[in-house]
Amino acid sequence: MTVEQALARAQQQVRQEGAALDVAELPSYGFSHRSILWWATAGMMAIEGTVFALAVAVYFYLRSHSATWPMSSLPPELRYGTANTLILLVSLLPNEWAKRAAEKEHVGHVRMALVICMLFSLAFLAVRWLEFTALNCRWDDNAYGSIVWMLMGLHTTHLLTDAYDSGVLTTLVFTQKMDGKRFVDVSESAMYWYFVVLTWLPLYAVVYWGPRFV
Amino acid sequence: MAARRWLARCVAAALAAAVRCNAGEPALGAQSQDALRSAGPQASQVLDLWLLTLGICTAVFAAILVAFVWALWRAPRASAGTPADTTGLTQVEHRPRRVVIVALGASTVLLFVLLVASVSTDRSLAQLVLRDAVHIEVTAHQWWWSARYDNEEAAKTFTVANELHIPVGRPVIMTLRSDDVIHSLWVPNLAGKKDLIPGRTATLTLRADRPGVYRGQCAEFCGAQHAWMAFLVHAEPAAQYEAWVARQREPAATPVAERALRGRQVFLQSTCVMCHAIGGSGAGGQRGPDLTHLAGRTTLAAGALANDAAHLAAWITDPSAFKPGTNMPGHVLPPDDLQALVAYLGTLE
């Protein structure tokens, strides 16, 4: 059932009796933009998206002030970064599965999907560590190093928080009774995961290909 | 244009009155630091623009206040109990709507006038004629100014500190750099300000048409002594200026008086030479103001003190007493050494 259908149905569940509007029959939760949690997540995404955008702007601002770029080192090595990009993209599949299972309120699938997502997060955190070893610059070498480390640091923070947050959620769905609210949580956290992965793509392009082309 | 001039003149009159009625006219004699007393084309064009803007804004402001007060005065009084008139929710109020739209149109037009005035002034500021300009490289330091007068012949360049001399009627091109933090060079009587930013170079062009001593001051907060980072611009007739330039190009003369000679010794053997230079004496420190022609200046310590023996002695002994936080350390010299040193510095015309 789509959000629109659900909304339409909700309207029929409200009855007017004289001065009173009876809402007792309304559902006690809703998915997607019906739930207030969706709006919080969207707000956070807007804020963090702005941070990423500004950080990228800073990258190119500094680049425009420098004759050579990277200033005194080789560009970051491609292999780990590229590998991680692929891992993140593939992780969208179990993520999407978790989202749909949650909206179908299918506990078993939700649990399985979340476990797989956890495995993926372990994987990309490990590879991210390797990425840092292959950046070919230190943050205190020069402005180039500083901004590269800042971009990577920003995104890694999101990976960490998101991994931790889905870890907590996974333990929840295994240990706690699953009510509708919990399914909404799963679906929202899946939406946030999309954000974390999709913001990586421009960052990957900037950090790894910025010093090579453009 | 004519209208603008006329308007400018009326507002100028009004403003002049305002200026009179506030007490405490500058007691600095010739010195003045005042955007309302332009002494050159740059400043005076800005002043015209300001008077025009002031005129328009005052008119609009007055109009709004009148409408507002009138509205208050004519509207009937009510109380919390008065039933609210909600017709506005159901039907369009044509008359007020028309008035608002007209007022809005008028404001938009006036804003456009201001935009045009601003841009045109900006253009004419940029079009100052720069033929046979004086080139000065100004460098800002915490908390003083150094200036190098350029010349094709390296031998003819010279450096001064905290006091510039410029010829009346000749354009000046200042190349602006900073040695540490961001400063801003501002001589209100002559031109608007320009920031001196580390890692960047800026230029400021101006011309003085009236002779006089114009005070300038750092306008960007730059640390402990931001308040005492002033400098003087002496605008003087060509002949006088050339004479000054000739003097500046000379190295400092070795004094004849025995006491001054002793002072010279004190200077060269003490810590002074670590920071200060005196042309011809061998002292070449670059961290503090160049003292080659110190005695020719009217102020000490970037406009903080009058340049006389007493203040010089006091300054050398305990600069922090006058400019807390200054980079110049204090030197407690034996009294006669100090007096000798002051005497020597006094000879550096």
């Binding site: - | 006389d308 007493a310 006058f322 204090g330 030197h331």
Partner: protein, 208 residues
């Protein structure tokens, strides 16, 4: 109630003041110097009030004097090598040390601590001792093989500040006092991020 607790915290806090942050704007000039008196007596119309100097001098010269005289005595009478340098607690003083280290061209020989003509200052080797007043003595009196004596050239208070900075180069100072990176070419990790070297005297006969 919450607010009361915090107020108490504030009051307690205000009793202590942070030595690291002290800006000591009064030079070690003796207030009773004839020159400054002369200055005080004849002031023109637009000087910053001599009252200022008198007042501030009077109010805050006492602690300053002590702070300044401590190093002075330490230098003249050779105290045991444990004598401390009060500037090593004060970030502003160390920063000034770093500035004049550059201004007086110490980096001409010692570079930014790596050393070139002169020995390195950021390592654990100390030819003439790592104690503050040993370093001060080195600067004031000079050392064989090229280290000039600066006794007449650099005011003693600044020498003590330079000494404090020199020790920060090998991580001898607290990291919240030691300087951070300067606005210049990068010279490796900033002083406040360096690991503390444990000073050892140089191998006998070893020289630069």
């Amino acid at each position: 109630m919450m607010r009361i607790v915090c107020l108490l915290a504030l009051c307690l806090a205000s009793l202590t003041a942070c030595e690291r942050e002290q800006r000591r704007y009064n030079a070690p000039a003796s207030p009773a110097s004839p020159a400054s008196d002369a200055g005080l007596s004849r002031m023109g119309p637009f000087q910053p009030g001599p009252a200022a100097s008198a007042a501030s001098g009077a109010s805050s010269s006492a602690p300053i004097a002590s702070a300044a005289s401590a190093p002075a005595s330490a230098a003249s009478t050779s105290l045991p090598p444990t004598s401390a340098n009060p500037h090593e607690e004060n970030a502003v003083a160390v920063a000034e040390g770093k500035r004049v280290y550059r201004w007086y061209n110490c980096n001409g020989c010692h570079a930014t601590g790596g050393g070139s003509l002169g020995p390195a200052l950021m390592d654990d080797e100390w030819l003439y001792g790592h104690e503050p007043q040993q370093i001060v003595a080195t600067i004031l009196q000079g050392r064989p093989n090229g280290m000039p004596a600066f006794a007449a050239r650099i005011p003693e208070d600044q020498v003590w500040k330079i000494a404090a900075y020199v020790r920060s180069m090998s991580g001898q100072l607290r990291s919240d006092v030691a300087p951070s990176r300067s606005d210049g070419l990068s010279a490796g990790p900033p002083e406040q991020r360096r690991d503390k070297e444990t000073p050892k005297p140089a191998a006998p006969g070893k020289d630069h």
